[in-house]
Symmetry: C2
């Protein structure tokens, strides 16, 4: 029997699948959209942060007296002026301001609030910090040692640690995750070939256009209001509560427009300091990072070293796979960065392997902490796995596409973490990418230019368990408000939610408003990350809109005298599907019961509310196997194919074409879909060829835009996007999230194409002209 | 059978009936509460209004050119710069700025926005308005003529008029209401005595401490944000939409703390001008009235002339009553002032009269418009009726209390407008007031001082039909948000709603937050007037909290494995009433389904929502009879007794004691109850003895605090408050509203006491020493 909710959801759709332009488009294009950076409130002070100049040192003393005397300085705080708490999502290791020790260059050691940014800057120079230097570890292999040159967190055992798994006698070990399935050693015995390789994935930056920024104010009632460019206002509220020991109900987080995040604004590196200064001065304080600070002192994509040993049959099936990831975590947990030990599984779980063995170690190093970055650990591992797949194909003399097709998971398969695959169009996506790139047709050399094609597959899960709530309100006048805490950091999330609500109630887009997050008003969402908002916030909005629709229909049924199951709504009317003459304006429902001779027109609200909760089973600590058949919300399934030209004289690489094939379930909005997929592939292309954070003696040497190259519009290759697959039954109108998928296979598709062009493999990202030249030279030398 | 909701409502109460202090108390006492006056935003301009100097004139021309040239002036607008709309709740007669004619001194004719208030003020003097004077009508008797000296609204027939009833050939008639029951002429024939008198009730001002103020800003997305000290944010939104032709969804009304309203902030006299200036300048504009402007140009309690002819039996029963009210409405409808023709029925409907005949006429006069004032028309008529009751008693030689007891309505009676009386403890309240004042014990003269006691009865209805919505959200951490558009203009409304929500969910008060109104977020309420919020908003909050409780209980039932009908909640726990060992923290429900080894602690919201709608039947135009058995939400039933001392040499009146006896249903908070009742009685005392707006040639002569006397704390008499009656079944936990009741009988109780003391009756308010002396002189002359 048809469930009541489903009754309302029949094609042709009213708004779903329509290429509507973004609700925030006009504002953003005309420059009138307000970002946190734009905010100014009366009596506002400017905050600045004094940062460590040492990669690893004990703090002997901090003298703030000279700074405090500077005219216009209103407060100087150190770690002694804030509660002695350590924060972090899973491992609570990070102080608000360093107290006894610094663990990376640029770690916050003191903060100033002053009448102008210039005075605050000047005051920083007047803070005298005396350090006693300690040996520093930059190399994760050194950090992995059982007897390292130094232990970065000697008090580690006193921290709250939720997700370590095992300590394993490695003093600098920080987080650990393992997967065990079958028996790899027996697998290796049975196979025809062993293929074993190592790969390194470098440190890059998310590079959001809007730098880190927050403002805080103590309200007359003692509450704290925080405005921040954040991806997770509710987690920020929790963080501030924990770090500064303020009750949750005294904290309000408001999020203006967000100029990009890509994971780096998931856990704040600034808000506790802003709030501490506001509390100290009793005046509003704003801290805006310089571009240098963003590079030096906000989370980075953490470097991975991945070792893979595969046992394969001669027809290309992987019998056994043993993998190790070593993650250079930096000085602290890096927000959720610590969780990438676990989420790195999405870098390999798209292949069926009966005998599987994986260890991921995150170790402390004396670098800026690594944190979430679009792709969340899976991108790094996918580079290794998808490079390895081509190396297997080469060893066996097989087509790389064929080798993948023989190993990719399918609908209903159990993957290596024991989860049943749903909406798993991996093979079709790969076939589509192959078709789009013209697989098998190779261009002839042109002068120094050699041409090649490569493919890669991947999938990115969306985190679960997770919850989102939504409230919707239909007002007299025919317009709808959706109250959600959804972050639209440039993704079009607000527009998607408006389409979902508008689909349920058949309201035109211009009559729908979607709230910006304000934790005092808008209900809980688990934040804007892991490609989760369309699916989770979208499901919440859909259910809330259905709740509201039910109320309208029930009330109208009484007025019109028809069975409510007959009724439907569209464009401010409620009508009988059987007899469309039985209809009324929804506005008239608001008036029902009002005396005609009376004075007023009472307006009722129709209010719907719902919580969506994606249940899932945890991964067991002992073998990484899922305790139920579901570990995540969905998989964003993607294949990328690339065609490149490589100049054998200069090493220069040109991308001729990138083809991305995605299974998004239902495409709710083709424009936004294409924008997300192109943006994701473009970002992956940029970090594959160009991006790299370079250090000398612990200090970052390219912390300015002039020195840190990202791809610009003139570098942009042609990016072809296609979609396939079927509606995903659990998603709103069948949709899944799409923001991260193309980040995964795109780098390896490029690397594999480079190999196809010149027969040289660059195992370590980025794939630069310099590395290509060196490798070509080595090849010639050895050949 | 017990309904599910009732299951949760059993004494002893958790918060209901407790004398908790106000949620906003600390903020207000420490001066940190933010009022609209306190707001300042970047780039804000200051608006000022050019006002008519003529009581009645045609506008020949307005020349703004000199004003526009003044440095710092950003805009000067006249009626030609805004849409040609006329506004008003029932009669749409009021332009935003006068276009062709002014109808009272101080009517807005132009407005200026400038960089400073001083420049704006200076610019006003540079606006040249040429008038052609017209005859002015100040006397409502003149306005009642079929051929008056002038017609104030010659285009009246072109206006939208919702509530006139009949035109009756009176060109200046504005609104009309009549009641017809039985046959008064036959009644007069049957009775023993005819008692006929006239009374006049003067013009006074609500005198809220915070003057009229509003601020408006055009947002980047084109929407309009209005901050205003208003009693009805949703109606303000409607008003602006209608006046300036802006869609409802483009307007957001935010209400900071409100420093008193008493009806005068129900319909804005400033917001359309503020918004028009903000639209014109594209900058935020704030207009703050001076005290003089508040007196001259905001609504006043409109003057009534009431004529009563009663036919009574010798034992004091009223057989027939014929009444007429003539209301001097001023130049325009005065917001809802026009509706006082109808609501004046509460001034007489507490008496059963079989033969009843009432006409109320509101006529245009060339005065500032009369508008809502605590008691809303009923206060004026009650003065006449309750003076008359004593005059009947005197004529018949009966005790005034006895005469009242023989005529007051009782539970289940049909009153003169055909409504069935509910919660009608009128007789008990009168008996209690009599007891409290020591009725029958008279003090002996003391020098020039004579002593007397008086009583009066009354009731004030609360408007219906009316609607309120509420949303409540229970958050991880055990705190509750109630989202309502309730106005707390000093009444403690927020605290009452917190008590109601906290009672349902048994949450301590410090864990409850009640929102301030923000029409973009908080759901509809019909506003803060007619003593309606405790009852209507309170019922909405109660139902929303029950909705939320149901969700908690249902979820816990599954987790605890017990029937949900067994479960109850208290202080962050849900537990079985049968087996209290079966219990869990509500916080733990949020975590249910989360993997123990997992990374996050998803937080679900529990969200409840509800709309309360008080249905009622309209009063028929032809006879004022209610079409159902209910015309209002409830009656606030009050009796006042007063003891006075009158100095026969100076005429001075001292109030020795006021005793107020109220039936509030359940007292939700004794402190707030007492505060409201004392405040209401005190305000009535002040306007009975002191307050009077005095005009000369159409202009107000006492428009400053130095000249307009209101009672201060040194004038305060002892005010004794008592309550009786039973819980009112329709109210939240049995409560009714209490804000207006004591305004009604208190003046007449004082007037009757004065008569009791010196044998002289002052039929026209205020009862001043001067009037007493003149009357004493006349009495001696005639005696």
């Amino acid at each position: 029997m048809l469930k009541e909710e489903q009754r309302y959801e029949t094609e042709p759709y009213y708004l779903v699948g329509k290429p509507v332009t973004r609700l925030d488009g006009r504002e953003k294009v005309t420059g009138s959209a307000i970002y946190t950076h734009d905010l100014k409130v009366p009596n506002m002070l400017y905050g600045k942060i004094k940062r460590s100049t040492k990669p690893h040192a004990e703090i002997v003393s901090i003298d703030t007296s000279r700074a405090l005397k500077l005219k216009g300085v209103r407060a100087v705080i150190t770690g002694r002026d804030v509660p002695n708490t350590r924060r972090g999502v899973l491992v609570k290791d990070t102080p608000v301001l360093a107290v006894d020790r610094v663990r990376y260059v640029a770690e916050p050691v003191a903060a100033v609030a002053a009448e102008t940014p210039e005075i605050a800057e000047e005051a920083l120079d007047l803070i005298d910090v005396e350090y006693r230097e300690l040996p520093a570890i930059f190399d994760p292999e050194e950090a992995m040692k059982k007897e390292p040159i130094v232990v970065i967190h000697p008090d580690f055992k006193s921290y709250t640690v939720k997700y370590l798994g095992a300590e394993l006698g490695i003093p600098n070990l920080h987080a650990y995750f393992k997967v065990r399935k079958g028996d790899v050693e027996k697998g290796f015995e049975k196979c025809d070939q062993i293929v074993e390789n190592s790969f390194r994935i470098n440190m890059v930056h998310a590079f959001h256009l809007e730098p880190i920024v927050s403002m805080a104010r103590v309200e007359p009632n003692g509450g704290i209001t925080i405005w921040e460019s954040t991806q997770h206002p509710y987690m920020l509220r929790n963080e501030i509560s924990e770090a500064l020991q303020i009750p949750l109900d005294k904290i309000n987080v408001i999020v203006p427009h967000v100029g990009g995040g890509f994971g780096n604004k998931l856990v704040s590196v600034v808000a506790p300091i802003t709030v501490a200064l506001a509390k100290q001065t009793r005046r509003p304080v704003k801290i805006a990072f310089s571009r240098r600070e963003v590079f030096e002192a906000s989370y980075v994509r953490q470097p991975f070293t991945v070792h893979i040993k595969d046992g394969v049959t001669r027809d290309g099936r992987i019998v056994a796979r043993k993998m190790t990831s070593i993650i250079s975590g930096g000085g602290y947990s890096g927000g959720m960065g610590v969780n990438e030990t676990k989420t790195s599984n999405c870098g390999f779980s798209h292949y069926k392997v009966d005998n599987f063995h994986y260890d991921a170690y995150r170790v402390y190093t004396n670098r800026v902490p690594g944190g979430p970055y679009r792709g969340f650990g899976a991108g790094q591992v996918n580079w290794a796995v998808e490079s390895q797949m081509d190396m297997i194909a080469e060893r066996l003399g097989l087509d790389p596409v064929e080798v993948r097709l023989r190993n990719l998971v399918e609908e209903g398969d159990k993957n290596v973490i024991g989860e049943t695959m749903r909406s798993a169009e991996h093979k079709n996506m790969l076939r589509k990418a192959k078709e789009l790139i013209g697989w098998g047709q190779k261009r002839s050399p042109d002068g120094p230019w050699r041409f090649g094609k490569g493919v890669a597959s991947g999938h990115k899960w969306s985190f679960a368990p997770t919850a989102s709530s939504a409230m919707v309100k239909y007002s007299f006048g025919g317009f709808l408000d959706a109250f959600v805490s959804t972050i639209d950091m440039g993704t079009g999330a607000q527009t998607i939610l408006a389409q979902i609500a508008g689909e349920v109630l058949r309201i035109p887009l211009e009559k729908i408003r979607v709230s910006m997050p304000n934790t005092n008003f808008t209900p809980f969402s688990d934040g804007g990350f892991s490609s989760r908002q369309t699916y989770n916030d979208g499901n919440a909005v859909r259910l809330a809109a259905l709740d509201l629709k039910k109320q309208i229909v029930e009330r109208a049924a009484g007025v019109l005298g028809v069975d409510r199951m007959e009724l439907d709504v569209r464009e401010e009317k409620v009508y009988s599907a059987k007899d469309p003459k039985k209809a009324m304006k929804i506005d008239d429902l608001f008036m029902k019961g009002v005396s005609r001779g009376g004075a007023f027109a009472p307006v009722r609200d129709f209010i719907g509310a719902a919580t969506w909760f994606q249940e899932s089973g945890p991964l067991r600590a002992e073998d990484g196997q899922c305790t139920t058949d579901r570990a995540c919300s969905f998989y964003d399934v993607v294949s990328t194919a690339a065609e490149v030209a490589v100049n054998i004289e200069t090493g220069q690489i040109k991308i001729l074409k990138i083809a991305v094939s995605v299974d998004p379930g239902t495409v709710l909005n083709p424009l936004l879909f294409e924008g997300q997929v192109q943006g994701s592939a473009f970002m992956a292309f940029s970090n594959t060829l160009f991006e790299d954070l370079v250090f000398e003696d612990g200090g970052l040497v390219n912390a300015e835009l002039a020195d840190y190259k990202i791809a610009g519009s003139k570098d942009a290759p042609e990016i072809v996007v296609s979609w396939g697959g079927s509606p995903f039954s659990d998603g709103p109108f069948g949709a899944k999230g799409i923001g991260e998928g193309p980040m995964l296979p795109t780098p390896a598709a490029i690397g594999n194409a480079v190999y196809d062009a010149i027969g040289v493999r660059i195992p370590d990202l980025p794939v630069t002209a310099e590395k290509v030249l060196v490798a070509l030279k080595e090849k010639r030398g050895s050949g």
